[in-house]
Symmetry: C2
Subunit: 233 residues, 2 copies
């Protein structure tokens, strides 16, 4: 398990948290490193809106500042993803399948990071952070290291003079697998049973969609007990 | 007057339009070049919300598709700019003054452009365009050529495989002065009297704030009659 190299933890970070396993662990991780964490979540009309309640619970547990930004107008404009369009089915099976391209919300990470950068300017934070990990690379181009580098270069140019000194865009899990993240979260005591992954957004995790499949495997590989209640055995 | 060099006009462009003089002329310009134009505007709680009605009028005049995206939740989160915060005064005088930094909305262009990129993915457009011009460079870092280049590189990486072939981020006025834009708009018959610039958002243009000062001078320099009704003589 190799965390992305960082010379020093940020003094203050704006962390994008969905309420899922990865981003929740990221909040615990940065907090453990001593960073002052401000949480940012996005309501883009995702059918798994339940994850936002998980994020709210993290904020309450850890007594952190948390903003949920209403981007439903943007989600409505885009449509065309199974994550936001009730008329489209969420596909079953592994992330690596071509069919999982249906879960791409165009340009989502850039958009969320842009708002996080703006909040960092306002709050004087010296970092924004998001929970992209190694398993995301294949299907989501905006989860790859080269995107993080290019986005950072653009953000620095866009906000020259307004950002805190040494400002960085952090993706500390970029070279971790999801199993690595489960191991790390387990060390921090992350309440995994209160995180939400399933794209279907039912009462319980479906256990069959791409993100459920990945979640189950991660606990198995990490040899950490999986506290999730799945619909499918 | 040097328009940014372009080998060919885009087949279809998502154009960010505020309802001001520059972006309205940009819509007329791309349309004159034969591009299929889709207009995108943003309500971020700007006190000069009146400009959005000007953008709506352009859409109606030219029979173009127009989306106004509600970003008030983002505007409320940021505050701290005289453009959105009713508690802050809009400063008088020239843009080059240090005091005009109060009109910076953090990371605004990157955010608007990233939403435009997402729309371009959805609509299959091969360009997004915005109306930054030479006079914006001094105070707004996200209006500079190096930002446009860095942003483009990031957008291409974030959406690899999802964007139309040959996708570009266009800022055709980047090397024009506002007077050049007035001359260009005059050739296209842009109804300048129906564009809105003033940051104060009163019933008429105040004639004194940075953008009014710039607007008045542009018409004078371009030797084009200024149809604007200003409060201050």
């Amino acid at each position: 398990m190799t965390l992305s190299p960082e010379s020093r933890p940020p003094a203050a970070a704006v962390v994008i948290i969905s309420g899922g396993l990865d981003s929740t662990t990221l909040v615990y991780h940065l907090r453990a490193q001593g960073s002052d964490v401000r949480m940012l979540s996005f309501d883009y009309g995702q059918r798994h809106g339940r994850e936002l309640n998980c994020a709210r619970q993290v904020a309450q547990d850890l007594q952190l500042c948390h903003h949920v930004v209403d981007l439903r107008a943007v989600g409505a404009l885009l449509g065309g993803s199974a994550l936001t369009d009730p008329g489209m089915a969420v596909p079953d099976g592994h992330y690596t399948d071509e069919s999982m391209r249906a879960t791409v919300v165009p340009n989502r990470n850039a958009l969320m990071l842009d708002i996080a950068v703006a909040v960092a300017v306002t709050a004087g934070s010296d970092a924004v952070a998001f929970g992209a990990h190694g398993g995301d690379h294949m299907i989501y181009p905006d989860c790859r290291p080269e995107f993080v580098d290019a986005f950072t270069a653009s953000a620095l140019l866009a906000n020259g003079g307004f950002l805190a000194a040494g400002f960085r865009v952090l993706a500390p899990f970029l070279h971790l697998t999801k199993a690595d993240i489960v191991r790390l979260g387990s060390r921090y005591g992350v309440p995994f049973e209160r995180t939400w992954s399933c794209y279907r957004g039912g009462a319980r995790h479906c256990g069959r969609c791409g993100t459920c499949t990945e979640r189950r495997e991660a606990f198995q590989l990490a040899q950490v007990p999986d506290p999730t209640a799945y619909e499918a055995a």
